[in-house]
C-alpha cells in the first residue's frame, strides 16, 4: 500500500512538474473556460426571471469543454516520445497510474474552475459561496474526470484522438452533466420535490470510478 501510494504521488508530482514547465494545459483550459463564460454572458438575455435556466448551463458547458481540452492532453503527453511505455516498463500497479492521472486531471480542472468560478459569479450575478455550489462543482467535476481519464487513455492510442475523445466521453457524461446543471439550477431557483441530483452525481462517481479502476489496465496494455 505504501509503495502504491508512493507511486501514485510520484506520477502526480511528475505530471505537475511537467505541466508547470510546459504550461500547455492549464493556460489553454483556463482561457477557454473564461471565453465561454464571457460569450454566454453576452449571448443570452440574463434577466432575473431566466437566469436560473441559462446560468447553470453556461457554467457546465464551460467546465466540460475546458475539461476535455485538458483530459486529452494529460495522457496524450504520456503517449508522446516513447508512449505509455515509460510507465508500462515499471513495476507499477495500473490502478496507481489511473489514480495518479485522475488526481492530476482533477487538480488541473480544479485550478481552472477556481479562476472561472469568481468570473461566473460576477458575470451571472450568482452567489458563489452562499450555498451548495462548491460540492456540486466538485462532484460534477469528479464525474467528468473519472470518465475522461479512462477514455483519454483509450483515445490517446489512436490518431484521431482529438475527435474521438469527445465522441466517446460526451454520451457517457450526460447523466452527470444533467444532474449537475439541474442541481445548480435548483440553487438559483429552488423547486419543490426536486429529485436528489447531488445523490445521483455521487452514485455516478462511485460506479464509474470503480469501473474505471478495474478496466484501466486493459485499456493501456498493448
Amino acid at each position: 500500500m505504501t509503495i502504491f501510494l508512493a507511486q501514485v504521488f510520484a506520477i502526480l508530482w511528475k505530471d505537475i512538474r511537467c505541466e508547470l514547465r510546459s504550461k500547455q494545459t492549464w493556460i489553454g483550459m483556463g482561457l477557454f473556460a473564461l471565453l465561454v463564460l464571457v460569450i454566454f454572458n453576452f449571448a443570452f438575455d440574463l434577466r432575473v426571471d431566466n437566469k436560473a435556466s441559462v446560468a447553470p448551463g453556461a457554467l457546465w458547458v464551460a467546465f466540460v469543454f475546458a475539461s476535455l481540452l485538458g483530459l486529452g492532453r494529460t495522457i496524450a503527453a504520456e503517449r508522446e516520445k516513447g508512449s505509455m511505455d515509460r510507465l508500462m516498463l515499471c513495476p507499477v500497479d495500473r490502478k496507481a497510474i489511473y489514480l495518479a492521472k485522475l488526481l492530476g486531471n482533477l487538480l488541473f480542472i480544479g485550478v481552472v474552475e477556481l479562476v472561472a468560478l469568481p468570473l461566473y459569479a460576477a458575470l451571472f450575478d450568482v452567489p458563489l459561496f452562499a450555498s451548495a455550489l462548491i460540492p456540486i462543482v466538485l462532484l460534477g467535476t469528479l464525474g467528468v474526470a473519472v470518465i475522461g481519464t479512462l477514455f483519454s487513455a483509450m483515445a490517446a492510442a489512436t490518431r484521431a484522438r482529438e475527435l474521438l475523445l469527445p465522441i466517446l466521453v460526451f454520451p457517457l457524461i450526460v447523466p452527470v452533466v444533467i444532474a449537475a446543471v439541474r442541481a445548480t439550477a435548483t440553487l438559483l431557483a429552488p423547486v419543490a420535490n426536486d429529485p436528489p441530483w447531488l445523490g445521483l452525481i455521487v452514485a455516478f462517481d462511485i460506479i464509474f470510478l470503480s469501473i474505471s479502476m478495474l478496466t484501466f489496465g486493459y485499456v493501456i496494455e498493448e
Partner: protein, 243 residues
C-alpha cells in the same frame, strides 16, 4: 553450467494477420551476454518488447529467473532493465529528476544516491540539473542506460543500445555490460552490426523471419561471472550451432 536464467519456448506473436515471431526458442544463462542479430523486420524489437513486458506474447512460454512472464509480470518488470529505440524519459524533467522519478517507480532504496552515482558513471553529472531536451542523442542514450540500470536489474534487454553513441559511449556501454555480468546479471541485446555483436556479446543468436535460425559462440558464462570480463572481442567466433 548454470541453469537458464531466461528461457523462451515456442514464443509466437502476430500483429493482426501478420506473424512476427513464429516460435522462438532461446536460453540465456546467468552471466551471459547474448547478441540478437537479424535483418529489419526479423522480430528482434518485438521479442525484446515482449520480454520487457511491453507487448503481450501471443503463444509460448517465457520464464525469467523462474518467474512466468505473463503471470508474474510485475515481479518480472522489477528484475528487468530495458533500453529501447526511445529513451523512455520525460523532456520536461532534468536528468536527475528523471532518474529520481524512475527510482520511485522501482522503489529504489537511496534513489538520490544511486541516481547521482549513475549520472557520474555515464558522464552526465554536470548535466544533472539540465532538462533533457537540451541533451544530444548520445547523451540521451547514456541517460537511458542509467535509467535501465537504476534498479539494479538482473536481466538487461537492449535494443540497438549503440544508437547515437560515440566511441567513448560505446566503450562505456561495453564497461557497463561487463560490470553487469560480473555482478551475476545477464544481457540480451539486439544489434545490426556484427562487430558490436562480437565485441559486446559472448554468443550471437540469429533471428530470421520470426525464428532463431542459428546460435554462434557460447562461451561458458560461468567463466564470465568469475572473471568479470569475457567476450569474443578478439574476433573469434565460437562453434556454429544450427538450430
Amino acid at each position: 553450467m548454470n541453469q537458464a536464467y531466461l528461457e523462451i519456448k515456442g514464443l509466437k506473436k502476430s500483429f493482426g494477420l501478420k506473424p512476427i515471431l513464429r516460435g522462438v526458442d532461446l536460453e540465456l544463462k546467468q552471466g551471459e551476454r547474448k547478441a540478437l542479430m537479424g535483418a529489419n523486420g526479423a522480430g528482434k524489437t518485438t521479442l525484446l518488447r515482449i520480454l520487457a513486458g511491453l507487448t503481450a506474447p501471443g503463444a509460448g512460454v517465457v520464464h525469467i529467473a523462474g518467474l512466468d512472464l505473463t503471470r508474474d509480470a510485475q515481479r518480472v518488470r522489477q528484475i528487468v532493465g530495458f533500453v529501447g529505440h526511445q529513451p523512455y524519459l520525460y523532456d520536461e524533467l532534468t536528468a536527475l529528476e528523471n532518474l529520481l522519478f524512475f527510482g520511485r517507480m522501482y522503489a529504489v532504496k537511496d534513489a538520490q544516491q544511486r541516481a547521482r552515482a549513475l549520472l557520474h558513471r555515464v558522464g552526465l553529472e554536470k548535466r544533472a540539473r539540465e532538462r533533457i531536451n537540451t541533451l544530444s542523442r548520445g547523451q540521451l542514450q547514456r541517460l537511458a542506460l542509467a535509467r535501465a540500470l537504476l534498479h539494479s536489474p538482473r536481466l538487461l534487454l537492449l535494443d540497438e543500445p549503440d544508437t547515437g553513441l560515440d566511441e567513448q559511449g560505446n566503450e562505456l556501454l561495453k564497461e557497463l555490460l561487463n560490470e553487469h555480468v560480473a555482478q551475476g546479471g545477464a544481457a540480451l541485446f539486439a544489434t545490426h552490426q556484427l562487430a558490436h555483436a562480437l565485441q559486446l556479446g559472448d554468443s550471437i543468436a540469429e533471428l530470421d523471419k520470426g525464428r532463431i535460425v542459428s546460435i554462434r559462440g557460447g562461451v561458458d558464462p560461468c567463466d564470465a561471472v568469475s572473471s568479470g570480463e569475457q567476450s569474443l572481442s578478439g574476433g573469434q567466433v565460437g562453434p556454429f550451432l544450427e538450430v
